[in-house]
Amino acid sequence: MTEKTANRRGFLKTSIASAAAASALIASGCQNRQLPDGGSEIALRWKEYFKKNYRLMTDQEKRETVDRLEKLAKLDQKINISIATNSPKQNVLFGYAFNITRCEGYMDCVEACVQENNLDRASKTQYVRVFEMENGELDISSGNGKYYHEVPKEDHFYMAIQCFHCENAPCVKACPTKATWKEEDGIVVVDYDWCIGCRYCMAACPYWGRRFNWGEPSIPRDKINPNQHYLGNRIRKKGQMEKCTFCVQRTRDGKLPACAEACPTGARIFGNLLDSNSEIRFVLANKKVFRLKEELGTDPKFWYFMD
């Protein structure tokens, strides 16, 4: 009796395991190419498929997954990338301010973000959206987000939205697999490989901050930004959620996010809320700032003001 049970169990185990392996390989469309250092592609994809949520990884596991991802990028896209796993800096909480009087609707921020963060060109995914509003309008949904003419237009003003990295983020609460969370420096991040693509976070976000990959993203090889971060601008796949990450690959290195760097009129102000000498704290102390949909209690870290 026990012998029969052991045989059946053993059989089921191996058949399920091989079916899982086979389906994983079919899903990733790999052909088991050989790597320059002698390893095999199947081994890489197998380990990638079964890796943990980023928050549960040890430093060694993080190094290993970065190594695998860099090797796979060399195989797939034939480019050399480097994926960072910088932790948040101490004593930092990022905040952002947007000067409505200064924005002229140039959309330099939108384009800079697309190039910095390896966004899908085929569906024209954009983390930052600029709205053209008539003078006197307060509700952003009355604005036109799809304008394309000489700017600024008479009697109109411009406002941009993106993920606001809420302190009390509804998307973090909605995620059933804990694939999205708020880091210590205030950035709300997504572990793309842990996301199951249910889009509950997209439904929960009141600010249209989230983007979903309905198709396989495609970026021209010469436009891929090779300086990537595991939680930031590494290349996503079909069925994964993504959003603005305050350019985690740049800001954890001390640089400004691409949108703030690109704005030619200085409408975007980024900094550390815990630094009492920072520009963002000056704005909060001296300007009449407001946040969108304050009544929802999401506590966003993105303020608007007018001069």
């Binding site: 469309g29 797939d76 896209q77 034939k78 480019i79 004593n91 905040g95 609707g105 959309m107 330099d108 939108v110 697309v114 569906s123 024209k124 954009q126 959206r129 600029v130 987000g145 304008y147 394309y148 000489e150 700017v151 302190e167 309905w214 198709g215 396989e216 993203p217 970026i219 021209p220 090889r221 891929i224 290349i235 796949k237 079909k238 800001t251 001390g254 640089k255 400004l256 009129t265 200085g266 102000i269 980024f270 900094g271 550390n272 809320l273 815990l274 630094d275 009492s276 000498n277 920072s278 520009e279 963002i280 704290r281 000056f282 704005v283 909060l284 001296n286 506590d299 003001f305 001069d307």
Partner: protein, 210 residues
């Protein structure tokens, strides 16, 4: 049941709002970094009564072709209203539509072509142009020193470097001209009406660059 409802309503009970977190910060944040973007440029400290910490602008005079104008130009500035024939003919003074400076010698020191002249008559270098602009635009100057106006160069931490007034605003024609946006956004209808054929095609395409 009711107890459960109460505690779940209080969801983020131990989580503070962002304003509370800011007000309760005890440890000051200090770094002495100067960002890579400006490491090879020389920096000039900003001097003003409103400055309460280290603040820099980039040294611009070293980048002006043939600077030290008074090395060759010894004669005083003639009181022209705009272009001089043959020299600086490309400068069209349109600053403030009648209420701003309408003559060259209002801002440029008449006897020293390498210097500017503040309203009080003090001679300043081109790197200190914020002192001249701030004489009339004091609101913008205070905002600029604090960070609400203008742009930061390089890093959000460490020693702050700002773009100077003339780095963004052409002092002779400060108004920003109209232009076309850098890109456009798709109407939502396009995304919804992507045919199933396109979706299937895009999903069959493996993640290879092209």
């Amino acid at each position: 049941m009711a107890l459960f409802a109460v505690t779940s309503c209080n969801g983020g009970h131990d989580q503070k709002g962002v304003i509370e977190v800011i007000q309760n910060t005890v440890t000051p944040f200090k770094t002495d970094i100067i960002s890579e973007a400006v490491i090879n440029k020389s920096l000039v400290a900003v001097h003003d009564s409103a400055v309460n910490r280290e603040l820099f602008v980039r040294d611009r005079v070293t980048e002006i072709n043939r600077f030290n104008c008074d090395a060759c130009h010894a004669t005083p500035l003639s009181p022209q209203t705009s272009q001089n024939k043959l020299t600086h003919a490309d400068i069209n003074l349109a600053h403030g539509s009648g209420k701003g400076p309408d003559k060259c010698d209002i801002c440029h020191a008449p006897d020293n072509r390498s210097k500017l002249k503040t309203v009080g008559g003090k001679l300043i270098g081109f790197n200190e142009v914020y002192q001249l602009c701030g004489d009339c635009h004091f609101q913008q100057k205070n905002d600029w020193i604090g960070g609400a106006h203008g742009k930061v160069v390089g890093s959000w931490e460490g020693a702050r470097v700002r773009y100077n007034c003339a780095d963004c605003h052409n002092p002779h024609q400060p108004g920003f001209p109209k232009r076309w946006p850098a890109t456009y956004s798709l109407p939502d209808q396009d995304i919804l009406s992507i045919s199933t054929e396109k979706l299937i095609k895009s999903s069959n395409r493996s993640n290879q660059g092209y």
